[in-house]
Assembly symmetry: C2
Homo-oligomer: 189 residues x 2
């Protein structure tokens, strides 16, 4: 999505540790008109796939997921980050490894809101190592739901999580794929 | 908003400690088509007020804020919950008391995204004691921004936070005001 690439070039800030800061429109301030445009683009890529529900993880996935859901007229269910191991049986849960923070966290989702009749699209803001998407795929598998694919705003192509998912046959659509980045240059795939 | 009152009656669950669980459409699963309708209703209530930016607090405020912002064509900035006292000078910050959890938490917002030229609408999912809205008003005051009012999905009228704000002259618009609730009954103002 050319408009997103342009926006990343204009507003993105590259920080040490392969961090791409896009707080001006995606992670802290939300450029909602632009997000809704991104949502319509995601809807086009998964048109006809019969999606009944969008899954994401709090917090930063919610805005993109909601924009896509508005265009596709389906609900969102967001996984909640859970600090303790104390879970009720009413929850699906999975452990996600954060490469950024070097820690594991548990994501939970109520069984009430996802079942075997659901056809699921996974949505997130960033795709780097793919750990968050793998966690959502695990939750969908626990529910017996069918996953039609994953859509991300920004994929860090050089971290190869998206490529690994594509090799396994998952339909992964990223609106912008950063192939390399440094203080003074960004290249897109 | 009659449709919201009906939905709360149909899907809401009253739990001990004055908790109204609306996870089926507002806090865990998001009924996005319905949220967008709520957003349009909020936009109507603040039409002509010159709003340039919507402020909310992560996580549960984001969906309602985004729906209102989509209808008003303005950006959202969400305050982030911050665990430590270690803050950089690039942040506005305020302490919010959570009556539900009996603890204080710090909310931070980057100075980059809010300034004295902004005309601000505060949006949240719930309004109970009003502590979260007071925190956002404090942040807006630090930025020198003008606050035109606050919009909430569900106000717990019996906790009087909304009334206290109205008495101070703040325009508070809640889409549904629960006057009393128990296991087997809900009344709206």
């Amino acid at each position: 999505m050319k408009a997103l690439e342009d926006k990343i070039r204009r507003e993105g800030v590259v920080l040490p540790g392969n961090i791409l800061k896009v707080g001006s429109f995606l992670n802290h301030q939300l450029d909602v008109d632009f997000l809704m445009e991104m949502g319509r683009e995601i809807a086009r890529k998964f048109e006809g796939d019969g999606v009944t529900k969008i899954l994401t993880i709090e917090t930063s996935g919610i805005a993109v997921a909601m924009a896509a859901a508005a265009a596709m007229h389906v609900p969102v269910v967001f996984g909640k980050k859970h600090k303790t191991g104390n879970l009720s049986g009413q929850m699906y849960s999975t452990v996600v490894h954060s490469y950024t923070h070097g820690t594991d966290y548990t994501v939970v989702m109520s069984r009430e809101y996802l079942g075997s009749a659901d056809v699921v699209l996974l949505v997130d803001d960033f795709l780097a190592n793919g750990a968050a998407l793998e966690g959502l795929m695990d939750i969908a598998a626990q529910a017996g739901a069918r996953v039609v694919g994953a859509a991300c705003a920004i994929e860090k192509g050089f971290q190869h999580g998206g490529d690994r998912l594509r090799e396994r046959g998952v339909k992964v659509e990223s609106l912008a794929i950063v192939e390399s980045m440094s203080d003074d240059s960004l290249t897109f795939r």
